[in-house]
């Protein structure tokens, strides 16, 4: 990882419809899209909003760009082109930069979007599949069916992009190890090189939160079993379980996501987007009008201390280096190893999948002796 180069994140806060479990910031009214794209391009030019934290004296080197959402595939080809042109104009973008766009497999005009994306340098696509079971998809509020996902993968490949990620959700309503295996078999059949697999978390204020009792959500033990099954399954298929919720074949680890875990700099544009730059964390509030009207990013504290480093590095397959750690720390890691929650690999303490499942507790205990 090249820590001298930054990642850029663009939040595209528009969706065709709101999924009942999701609490990311997005709007179903797309009326502001054009004004918003203008604001993004203007911000890259002026740094008016992030200027307190990022100086624009020379072009900042950048080697990853990520369009997240919301639903970036709702941008028109022209809008995407304008944003990427602005990136190239205002940043020093590496030749080999990883440029990802999240897409909804059911977005209208997906083919046109992908074609234009590829032409403008996008080289990685993340598709929100969540599940191959049409029953589960329905409960998750996902539009379309598994065959729409299959078609979407074909369209991505047709555009010339091979670096494809599929999202899978674990522990969703009505699911069990059997239905998860179906989803994983489907992913495996599609042959994509990367999978993001998130365990469902009930977020406050969502429809799921209000109706939790009616949802038939697998319990803690079932979900844990499903997670471990998935980790084994994907490892056997040649994927590296490189972060709590991410699996990738060799050469297909998401470079952008790794920036978050490895305390590399990143700048996020748009409402709810977060940044870490020059040792400071800052963010934009969840309000598209505030962003369009030029309101400035807000300070979110200093970042990068030892505790943060521990918390983030333990999420990944690289783990935390045991060099310069005190005796108590080492002793505690040994205890976790004896419980099967971690292992020592190349002088670092790394969590096993079982350890990842209880990583909060492990991190808390370790921060007490750091």
């Amino acid at each position: 990882m090249d820590r001298t180069k930054a990642g850029l994140y663009f939040h595209i806060p528009f969706c065709q419809s709101k999924c009942p479990y999701c609490d990311f910031y997005s709007l179903t009214d797309k009326g502001l899209t054009e004004a918003y794209v203008n604001a993004l391009c203007e911000e890259m030019k002026t740094f008016d909003r992030i200027g307190e934290f990022v100086k624009k004296d020379k072009k900042i080197p950048v080697d990853t760009v990520y369009f997240g959402g919301g639903t970036p595939s709702l941008l028109s080809p022209l809008q995407l082109e304008r944003i990427l042109a602005s990136v190239r104009e205002n940043f020093s973008l590496s030749e080999d930069a990883e440029i990802t766009a999240e897409c909804n497999p059911s977005s209208p005009f997906l083919g046109e979007f992908l074609q234009s994306a590829a032409e403008n340098g996008v080289n990685r696509i993340s598709l929100g599949m969540q599940s191959s079971s049409d029953n589960e998809r329905k409960k998750l509020g996902r539009r379309g069916t598994a065959s729409d996902v299959e078609n979407a993968v074909k369209l991505v490949r047709a555009s010339g992009i091979e670096n494809i990620s599929l999202d899978v959700m674990v522990g969703v309503p009505d699911s069990n190890t059997g239905t998860l295996k179906d989803s994983l078999d489907f992913v495996s059949f599609l042959g994509v090189p990367h999978i993001s697999a998130y365990m469902l978390k009930i977020e406050e204020g969502t429809f799921y939160c209000k109706n939790i009792d009616k949802l038939n959500i697998p319990d803690e033990d079932e979900t844990a079993d499903m997670y471990l099954f998935m980790s084994d399954y994907l490892r056997e298929k040649g994927y590296l379980h490189y972060e709590i919720s991410n699996f990738g074949k060799e050469g297909f680890i998401s470079r952008h996501n790794m920036k978050y875990w490895e305390l590399a700099p990143y700048i996020g544009f748009g409402p709810s987007a977060h940044s870490f730059y020059g040792g400071k964390r800052f963010y934009f509030p969840r309000d598209i009008n505030a962003f369009i009207n030029g309101e400035k990013a807000l300070f979110d504290g200093e970042g990068g201390d030892e505790e943060e480093k521990l918390m983030l590095s333990l999420r990944t397959y690289k783990g935390v280096s045991l060099e310069e750690k005190n005796k108590e720390f080492i002793k505690l890691t040994e205890k976790f190893v004896s419980q099967g929650l971690g292992e020592i690999r190349g002088g670092s303490f790394v969590l096993t999948p079982g350890g990842m499942l209880v990583s909060n507790s492990i991190i808390l205990m370790l921060t007490e002796v750091i």
Partner: protein, 604 residues
């Protein structure tokens, strides 16, 4: 020579809870202009927050009303307020001993209730003249004729003179004052005899020291005199004497026979001026004290621990301060393997316990963990010695116990007759022995049971209220000790005994209770990094077992677009939650687990 003090009337107001005692007292204060209407807060006599919230009077207070009666004369009416709960019966009896009469309030919608009767009997024991008053006649459900018939039937009190009033609206309240003057005898006493006064309340004041509230029987006391407490022998120089206004004390030059007033004498603690003691003069002492003094002893005990060990000293200071004003509260330091340093505290009853806990938490801002309340068991050992055990932790090894006695109470439950079945079920379940049942009126019964005190101290009253939709009331009196088949339950978490959770219980109930405790702990202790066996044992024998499975999932899986702060905050929150748990060996136990065990009975 004893003379009648024609212009004085000393009286109490007695009533069942919520029958309007404090409200009536307020109206009397207003009518006699003892307080100006604009100064009138609701229920002047109850000045503790908890009293106002619960609508009960915890400590007695007294106030002097000057009333110009229809006969044209002005009377000094001394109203001595009484506590309204069975836990404070002794204080009630001392207040009554200071009076010649009492106003008995009966709610026109409810009729005679448990405390109406209990207080009436207490008043009659003190030969008090009773003036019945029917209150709440403004309510639509009021039935004063029926209630009067009730009072005549049950208590045998002539209700033809009873004023029918609404303390709330003030309707007819003046009539109460007239009846007091007319029916309650004036006190008699000899101003020249050796000084003799009954302490019916004492309150600690930061500036004056203890304010001793007395009823003077004989003699005269002036500032500068040396007073002597006849039970404790303590002597003090009188600083001030006087009478009680509703909102302030009014100093006077002397206190004379028949009067009700206060004395201050730089007394440091209420322990030196206990309720029931007799004040006399050291130079010319009375030959004998007034009858009826007894030192009240705590009946219910529990360990009180600061949730944060660092608050131990603050807890001690708070208890000391509360004790300044509460001679019935006892405490001594104790140590628990599970809870660290804390205090074993003794209380008159469960209400007293709850009040003290609430005051510690509210007034002193302390976070507390309390152990299961216990009574005093008399444990007879095989070597013929007897030990008093108020803490399950100190319960001797069963091998050296010959037999155990537990305290027994005589209990009366007053209820509409439709609830007799469910009340008897409850009492049976609490090991009660049925004595008899009387119909006190057409549809009200007095059910008499003998009950072990340890069965009524946790939540008996709550259970009774639930079963009878609030219609039943309850009164009990400790009668003595009886042999009983008791065992101690120990709770083991991960193999370690948690002393604070030990429990003394009748052997017949041990098994179901043990299962319930195990289940509750399993439900209330969060899963941890390893499996935790929960065992309940008698001696070395495990009689119930559960397992808290190891935690499987505790992870922030989602990636919030690099929002690391959010992850950090979630972890911080988890850290805070951890702090509120008690570490027992390797196991972390949240406060809720303790509470769940305390509340077990409610779900039986």
């Amino acid at each position: 020579m004893k003379v009648k003090k024609e212009h004085i009337r000393n009286f109490s107001i007695i009533a069942h809870i919520d029958h309007g005692k404090s409200t009536l007292a307020d109206r009397l204060l207003e009518l006699t202009e003892t307080v100006q209407k604009r100064d009138m807060q609701q229920q002047i006599l109850d000045n503790m927050d908890i009293e106002k919230e619960r609508g009960i009077t915890i400590k007695a207070r007294a106030v002097t009303l000057n009333y110009k009666a229809n006969d044209g004369k002005t009377y000094e009416l001394n109203l001595i307020d009484t506590p309204g709960h069975v836990d404070f019966n002794y204080e009630v009896s001392r207040s009554l001993a200071a009076c010649e009469g009492a106003v008995l309030i009966v709610d026109a919608t409810q009729g005679v209730e448990a405390q109406t009767l209990a207080n009436t009997y207490l008043a009659l024991d003190h030969d008090l003249e009773l003036v019945p008053v029917v209150n709440k006649i403004d309510l639509p459900a009021a039935d004063p004729d029926r209630v009067c018939a009730d009072v005549e039937d049950i208590i045998g009190l002539d209700c033809s003179i009873a004023p029918r009033v609404s303390a709330k609206t003030g309707e007819n309240v003046e009539e109460v004052l007239e009846k007091i003057v007319e029916y309650i005898p004036c006190p008699e006493g000899d101003d020249e005899a050796p000084f003799k006064a009954l302490v019916f309340d004492s309150v600690y004041d930061n500036y004056k020291g203890v304010i001793v509230y007395v009823r003077v029987m004989d003699g005269t006391l002036r500032p500068g005199d040396t007073m002597k407490m006849m039970a404790t022998g303590a002597q003090f120089t009188v600083v001030e004497v006087g009478r009680m206004g509703a909102t302030s004390l009014q100093a006077a030059s002397e206190l004379k026979a028949g009067e009700v007033g206060y004395i201050t004498a730089s007394i440091k603690s209420v322990v030196d001026a206990r309720v029931g003691d007799t004040v006399t003069r050291a130079d010319v002492p009375a030959s004998e004290p007034l009858p009826g003094y007894k030192k009240v002893n705590p009946m219910v005990f529990c360990g009180i621990y600061p949730a944060d060990g660092a608050d131990y000293e603050s807890l001690r200071e708070a208890l000391e301060k509360l004790q300044l004003n509460d001679a019935a509260l006892s405490f001594e330091p104790e140590t628990s393997g599970a809870l660290g340093f804390g205090f074993r505290c003794g209380f008159l009853g469960l209400l007293h316990l709850e009040i003290i806990q609430e005051r510690l938490e509210r007034e002193y801002d302390l976070d507390l963990v309390s152990t299961v309340p216990s009574v005093i068991y008399k444990v007879h050992l095989t070597d013929k010695t007897v030990v008093d055990i108020d803490n399950p932790t100190n319960y001797p090894d069963p091998a050296i116990i010959d037999f155990v006695e537990e305290p027994i109470a005589d209990a009366h439950i007053y209820s509409p007759s439709e609830y007799v079945g469910t009340i008897m079920d409850l009492c049976q379940d609490r090991r009660g022995i049925f004595k008899n049942m009387d119909y006190i009126s057409g549809d009200r019964v007095d059910i008499h049971y003998v009950l072990p005190v340890n069965e009524i101290i946790y939540d008996f009253f709550d259970a009774l209220k639930t079963r009878t939709r609030g219609y039943a009331s309850f009164d009990y009196e400790l009668t003595g000790y009886e042999k009983s088949n008791l065992v101690k339950l120990d709770v083991l978490l991960n193999g370690d005994i948690i002393d604070a959770l030990s429990y003394i219980i009748h052997s017949e109930k041990a098994y179901p209770r043990a299962r319930k405790i195990a289940e509750k702990l399993k439900d209330n202790i969060p899963r941890q990094m390893f499996e935790i066996p929960v065992q309940i044992a008698i001696g070395g024998k495990v009689i119930a077992r559960e397992t808290i499975k190891a935690m499987r999932k505790d992870v922030l899986a989602k990636c919030y677009g690099g929002d690391i702060t959010r992850k950090k905050k979630l972890l911080e929150k988890q850290k805070e939650g951890k702090k509120r748990m008690r570490q027992f060996g390797t196991v972390e136990v949240p406060q809720e687990a303790f509470m769940a065990i305390l509340k077990l009975d409610g779900q039986d």
